[in-house]
């Protein structure tokens, strides 16, 4: 029983066509479906190496925001076990039946302590990556538009009480704490948590307003791809928030930037292998600048204050 990895994020956007143009032409995702959700226009997207039906759902809404985020569990039986654990913790858990959501079967939904709606699923419609399973080329076709990351990697949400959220994700959901930032009083300002990816993070939680989405990140294979992504972003006039640079926390190489409607995206590579019994890494408040942006050593205010 356990949380495997991030599966998909569902967001709202006030301009679905503009967002679609950005996520397909600049980010280089594939639009897999167009339709409607609760009467609003919606579109589903995925990266070229993802085998799941989608990793991003966007639906029209006058206000930008996050509907929910979904993690895949390790095995089919896990949903039942998590339903009990979540109920014991005091969460209202609702079951979503097969057929109610596009691209997946049965799932459970609940509110995390910081107010975001989280979903757990095992049964995902596998539509395959673009390479196939028979003598596949190791690379996608060279004419793919945009940045074209192979897959979504992780996300970061805000919470007023980071410590409470960290305990929830560790004790109830069984994620593993890999790194934390502590203030002078020993309170957690930020935590980085991993499912079963043996990586520094599948989700991170940083102090901020409850319910907020800070960003989600796409994986790239190396630093050179991060540089090329920055070229693509700049060429297309995308607003870059930070980078290309290096994180102290996670050791990752990164760029942060905004989609046309203000949602922060990241491209990320690097990190390190994490055994389940690895001792966690702690950052102190006075070194937080380096923890965030190792070269610049700044506690960037826009980075900490702007969210969705």
């Amino acid at each position: 029983m356990g949380i495997l990895r991030l599966a998909h994020i569902d967001v709202r956007t006030p301009d679905l066509d503009l967002a679609t143009a950005y996520y397909t032409d600049v980010m280089g995702l594939q639009q897999v479906q167009r339709g409607s959700v609760d009467g609003a226009d919606a579109a589903w997207f995925k990266c070229w190496d993802e085998e799941d039906h989608h990793s991003l759902r966007m639906r029209y809404n006058p206000r930008t925001g996050m509907d929910s985020f979904t993690f895949r569990v390790e095995a089919e039986d896990d949903l039942h076990d998590y339903e009990k654990k979540l109920a014991d913790y005091g969460c209202q858990v609702s079951r979503v039946s097969k057929g109610e959501a596009v691209g997946q079967g049965e799932s459970i939904r609940f509110e995390v302590p910081s107010g975001q709606i989280m979903e757990l699923v095992w049964d995902i419609e596998k539509t395959g990556n673009i390479l196939g399973k028979h003598n596949p080329s190791p690379v996608p076709p060279p004419d793919m538009p945009g940045i074209a990351p192979p897959r979504m990697d992780h996300m970061l949400v805000n919470a007023e009480e980071v410590g409470e959220s960290a305990r929830f994700f560790q004790d109830v959901l069984g994620l593993r704490l890999t790194e934390q930032v502590l203030d002078g009083n020993g309170h957690q300002l930020g935590v980085w948590l991993a499912g079963r990816t043996n990586s520094p993070h599948d989700i991170a939680i940083v102090n901020g307003p409850n319910g907020a989405l800070h960003h989600w990140a796409y994986w790239l294979d190396d630093w050179d791809h991060i540089r090329k992504a920055a070229d693509t972003l700049a060429y297309n006039g995308v607003q870059i928030d930070q980078g290309p640079t290096r994180h102290g926390v996670t050791r990752g190489n990164t760029i942060y930037f905004f989609d046309p409607l203000g949602i922060r995206n990241e491209v990320f590579t690097g990190g390190y292998w994490v055994d389940p019994d690895q001792e966690i890494i702690t950052w102190t408040e006075q070194e937080f600048g380096k923890g965030l942006f190792y070269y610049e050593n700044i506690v960037a205010q826009r980075f900490l204050r702007m969210h969705t």
Partner: protein, 309 residues
């Protein structure tokens, strides 16, 4: 439930010249010597990569021949030792159990058994932890002053077996590895198989060849540029490069192959992809085997198939 086998923990290899090999593994590859011992009258040197936390990932053992003594995989929990002992015994595989430190310094509690291909396999729990070379408070992303190539960690091992299908069945049915890719001959039998526990394309792979043979073991580097830098370091030191930097079709990895001073093949590897537990395996056909192994050149040098240790 336990995660069971997490990843490759270490390889112990035989080397006819311990000091020469120690010099190569520490100064050219850039591993760190953590210990030495004498076991049954034979000298051993213990090595680890800079980002590894445990006592060793490579053990060199003085011996008249070269090759693989054994490979060891890390278990998530102590109870996994009993779990796999029962599974192995139920399949009539003899299992030996060893207390912590019985097999050497820093060693955890372990079980050992033979695979159908005659390889000695170990599962271990509770290795001594020395830490990586960085503090746990405000760590920089990497240490300064590393020597040689200095890969952060050991990645996978590649062995040979006369009966690849029996090897695959043993590793999947009993040890619960998952098949990610395979190369099939035209008559449908498996020529090579790639198996994982870490959600990467492989922690161990096997190709048709003599039982008990080692094809290579590989260290992880973070990206393609690091493969090129490593090739510069290898060439500078006069190391025999078997395959210059290139790309695999299988695993999608970037790679360079080379030999240690006594002829054990090493690899540096990066790339690959994420693997879900219900990943549908990828199949390569015999006529595409060249592209599967070396994607750019579409052919495999004869040495790559015939030279092993």
């Amino acid at each position: 439930m336990s995660d069971r086998i997490l990843r490759l923990q270490h390889v112990e290899i035989r080397v006819p010249d311990l000091e020469l090999c120690t010099a190569y593994y520490t100064e050219v590859l850039g591993l760190i010597e953590t210990d030495r011992d004498v076991k049954d009258g034979v000298d051993r040197v213990f090595l680890k990569c800079w980002d590894e936390h445990e006592h060793h990932s490579v053990v060199l053992r003085e011996a008249p021949t070269y090759g693989l003594d054994h490979m060891s995989f890390k278990l998530a929990e102590q109870g996994d030792l009993d779990y796999f002992t029962e599974k192995l015994q139920a399949a009539s595989v003899p299992v030996k159990r060893y207390a912590a430190r019985e097999l050497g310094p820093g060693w955890g509690e372990a079980i050992r058994f033979e695979s159908p291909s005659g390889h000695l396999v170990e599962l271990v729990h509770g290795m001594e932890r020395l830490g990586n070379m960085l503090p746990r408070t405000n760590p920089p992303p990497r240490p300064e002053g590393l020597t040689g190539i200095a890969p952060p960690r050991l990645d996978h091992v590649f062995v040979m077996a006369e009966d690849v299908e029996a090897f695959t069945a043993f590793f999947t049915d009993i040890l619960e590895f998952r098949l990610t890719e395979q190369i099939l001959a035209n008559d449908g039998h498996q020529l090579a198989a790639f198996l994982e526990r870490s959600h990467t394309p492989h922690d161990i792979a096997v190709i048709t060849g003599p039982n008990g043979a080692l094809h290579h073991f590989a260290f992880w580097v973070d990206e393609w540029n690091a493969i090129r830098d490593a090739a510069d370091t290898l060439a500078y030191h006069g190391v025999t490069i078997d395959v210059a930097p290139t790309r695999h079709g299988v695993t999608r990895g970037y790679t360079t192959y080379f030999f240690d001073p006594v002829g054990n093949r090493n690899e540096l590897f990066t790339g690959g992809y994420w693997v879900d537990p219900d990943f549908e395996p990828i199949t390569w056909t015999e006529e595409e085997m060249g592209r599967a192994i070396f994607y750019y050149h579409r052919q495999v040098n004869e040495k790559f198939f015939t030279v092993h240790s």
